[in-house]
Symmetry: C2
Subunit: 438 residues, 2 copies
Amino acid sequence: MDKINGKDLIKEFSLEDALENEGREISLSACVHKVKKMGGFAFVILRTGRYLIQTVYSPDDCADSIDGIKEGCFAAVTGIVKKDERAYNGIELTLKTIKLLHNPGNDYPLHVSARKLGCSLDVNLDNRSVSLRNPAEKAIFKFQEGVVSAFREFMLKNDFTEIHTPKIVAQGAEGGANIFRLEYFEQEAFLNQSPQFYKQAAVAFFDRVFEIAPVYRAEKHSTSRHLNEYIGLDFEMGFINDMYDVMNMETAMLRYMMSYLKENYAREIAVLGADIPEVTEIPCIRFEDAVTLIKGSKAKNKFDLEPEDEVFLCNWAKENHGTEFIFVTHFPSSKPPFYAMNDKDDPRTACKFDLLFRGLEITTGGQRIHDYNEQIEKMKAQGLDPDDFRSYLESHKYGLPPHGGLGIGLERLVMKLIGADNVRRTSMFPRDLNRLLP
Amino acid sequence: MDKINGKDLIKEFSLEDALENEGREISLSACVHKVKKMGGFAFVILRTGRYLIQTVYSPDDCADSIDGIKEGCFAAVTGIVKKDERAYNGIELTLKTIKLLHNPGNDYPLHVSARKLGCSLDVNLDNRSVSLRNPAEKAIFKFQEGVVSAFREFMLKNDFTEIHTPKIVAQGAEGGANIFRLEYFEQEAFLNQSPQFYKQAAVAFFDRVFEIAPVYRAEKHSTSRHLNEYIGLDFEMGFINDMYDVMNMETAMLRYMMSYLKENYAREIAVLGADIPEVTEIPCIRFEDAVTLIKGSKAKNKFDLEPEDEVFLCNWAKENHGTEFIFVTHFPSSKPPFYAMNDKDDPRTACKFDLLFRGLEITTGGQRIHDYNEQIEKMKAQGLDPDDFRSYLESHKYGLPPHGGLGIGLERLVMKLIGADNVRRTSMFPRDLNRLLP
C-alpha cells in the first residue's frame, strides 16, 4: 500500500479482500442501510459504495451498544469475517465494535432499504439525492460506469485518441432550432449539439478520435426517449473505405462491451435484471427497403423513421435474423446532416446509418464528406450558405482523409440494456423541459 | 483480429507491429508530411495519428510514380520495413506502391512540417485545424490523453465511481458573478462552475466518485492562466478523517500519473521536452504562515494568494524542500466556498487547501461540511440565504458521511508539465473572452 507522508491511503471496503480474510477482524465505514432487531441480537445491514454487508450485533461479542444506530446513520465498525451463502454477497461480519460517525437526524422520505423504491418517477427524481441511495437505483449508475469504461477501453485499444472539445460554440453542429442560446460576454453563443465539427477536424491529425462528453438538444419534446442534456459516446475514424468500416467498428465495440459488462459488472446485471445481448452479425437494411417493409399502414414519414417504425424494424430483425440490433442505411440525401456523403452509386441516398436496438435508435453515424468542393455543393443543395461554415470548412480546405464516425446516446443504450421504461431513469440528474433541479 | 460481417476491422498503423516485421511488406495510410526529392530518389515522410514514418521512394523499387504526391495529401502505401536508427522512431520503409487517396489542393498556411510552428499564439489558434497537424502541437494533446488516462485509472483502481453530472444548472456551485447565463425554455439557467454539489450528493451513495468534464467560468480576465471553459478532474471521497486524507490521495494520484506518463507517453515527453517531476512528500504550509513568509513587500491580499505569491511559494518549496509542489492550507474561513468545513481547533480558518505546482495553483480542495446545521450556520455567516440552496441541502438533511475532495484544472496541469507559457496552448480549441472560433 502507498504510504504518503508516512500515512496509509484510506481504503474503500473491498469485498474480495474481506472474503480472503475469513475468521479475521476487518474494519469498515459505511452507511447504515437497515437495522433488524431480533430477540437478543440484531442484524445491522451496512451499505458501502457498491455492496450491502450484513453484520450481526450481539452484546456478548460487541464492545459497543447499538442504541442510536439506525437507518441513515454513518458508522465505523470492526467485525470478524464469516462466509455465509445466505447473506448478501456471501459474507457476514460478527460485530466487535461499532461507532457512530454521523447521525443526520432525519428519516428518509423514501423506502431506501426496499428492494425497489416503489414511488413514481417524478417523486424519485424530485428526491434524487435520497432515491439514489436505494441499491437498485444506484446500481444503474455503477452499470453505466461499466458501459463507459468498456467503450473507452475498446477505443484506446484500437488506437483512437481521447479528445476534449468545447461545448460553448459559435454555431451548432446539427443546425435547426433545437439549440440552447447563451450570453457569452458580448457575443451570442450556443451549446453544442454534438462534437461533430471538432472530431472531424481532429481526424486530420489524430486519424482516430473519441470523446465522452455532454451533448445539448433544446428539444421541446417531453417523451420517454429524450433528454435535453445527455452524454454522447462519439468516435470518428480516418482512412475508411466506406461507412461499413464504421459500422463494423461499432459492432466490434458492442461485442467487446457486452463481454466486459458480464465480466466486471455481474453484480449490477443481477440487481437490475439487465438482459445483456449477444452481439453477432448485425443485419443491415436500406431505408427505402425498410419503408417498403413497414408500408401499408405505418410508414408515415418518407425521410426518417418514426418511433413505431423503429419498434417494427427491431421486431422484424428479431424474427428474421435472431438479433435485437439492426442497421438502417442509405437515408435520403436531401435530409440533414449536410456533412453526410452522398452515395456515389445512388446520389439520392446518403452514406448514413442508424443503429436500432430493442425498438430504439441508439446511434447515428456514417461516412462524412472529406472533399472541400463536394461539401460546398452539398451545403448549397440543402439551402445552406457555405460562408456560415467558414471555420468548419478550414479542415476540408487543407485536407481530411476519407472518414466517418458515429455518436451513441449513453443513457439510451443503458436504458435498453437494463429494460428501463424512461431515459430519465438512466440519467443521474436528468434535464428535461421542466427539470433543472436537483 | 476481430472479424465482423466476415471482414477484418481496419487497423491504425502500429509502430510495434511494424518493428517486428523487418524485411516484410506492410501497408499503411497516412498524411504526407513532407517530400524531399534527392538525386534519383526521394524521402516521403508520412504522418500517422502518432508517428512520423520515413519512406524512401525509388523508381526502381516502386510500381507507382510520386508525381502529384506532396505535403498535405493523403496516401496509401506499401513498403518493406527496414530498421534504421537515424530515421524517426527507428524505422524506414522502402516504398513498393503509393496511391493518392485525396489531394486537398491547397497549401498549408503554416509550417506544419517544421519542428516548431514558429508563428504567434493568435495565428496558431486562428488556424487551429491546421496548426494541430504540426507534430509538436498535436503531441500536447496526446500527452493530455495520458494525463487524463492516468487520473482515471488511479481513481478506478482506488474504488472511485465515475459519474456524469449536469452542466446546465439552476444555480452555480461557486456563486459570484463569473457564471454564464442561459435561456432554458421558459427558465433562467446557468453553466455549472464545478460539479461540487453533485459530487457531494453522490458521496452519500457511492462513497467515492470522480468526474472528468467541462467546467465553466465567465471570468473577464484575459491572462495566460485562465480559460472560460476547461476540463475539471474532480473527485470526492467519503469517510475521511480530515483533509489530509484528500491531500494524500492527490499525492498518490500524482505519483501514479508521473510514472504512467513516463511509461506510456515517453515519445510525447521527448517531443515536448516535458519535465516530469518526482512526486515525493509534498510540503504543507498554512496560509497564515505563507503570508508571513511572503510579507514585507509582497502579500497584498489577506484572503487569497496572488499569482506572484504562488510563484514565491513554489520557489520557497524548491529551495527548502527540494520539490516543485506545495500545499497551502487553512485559508480564512470567512472566504468562499461556503461548503468548506471550519477548522475545529481554529475556526478562523477553513479545512481548505490549494496545491501549487511550478508557480501556479493547479488544485483547490478540502474537507466539506457534512452536518446540516453546521452548513446552515456557515451559509448565514457568509451572508447567504439557506433557502436558496434547498435542493443542495437535501443531501445534508438525509445524511452525508464526513467527506472531502478536490478539483484539478487539466489544462493548467498539462501547461506546467510541458512548460507552456499560456494555458491556451493546452486546450485543443480554447475559449476565452474573445475566442469562440474555431
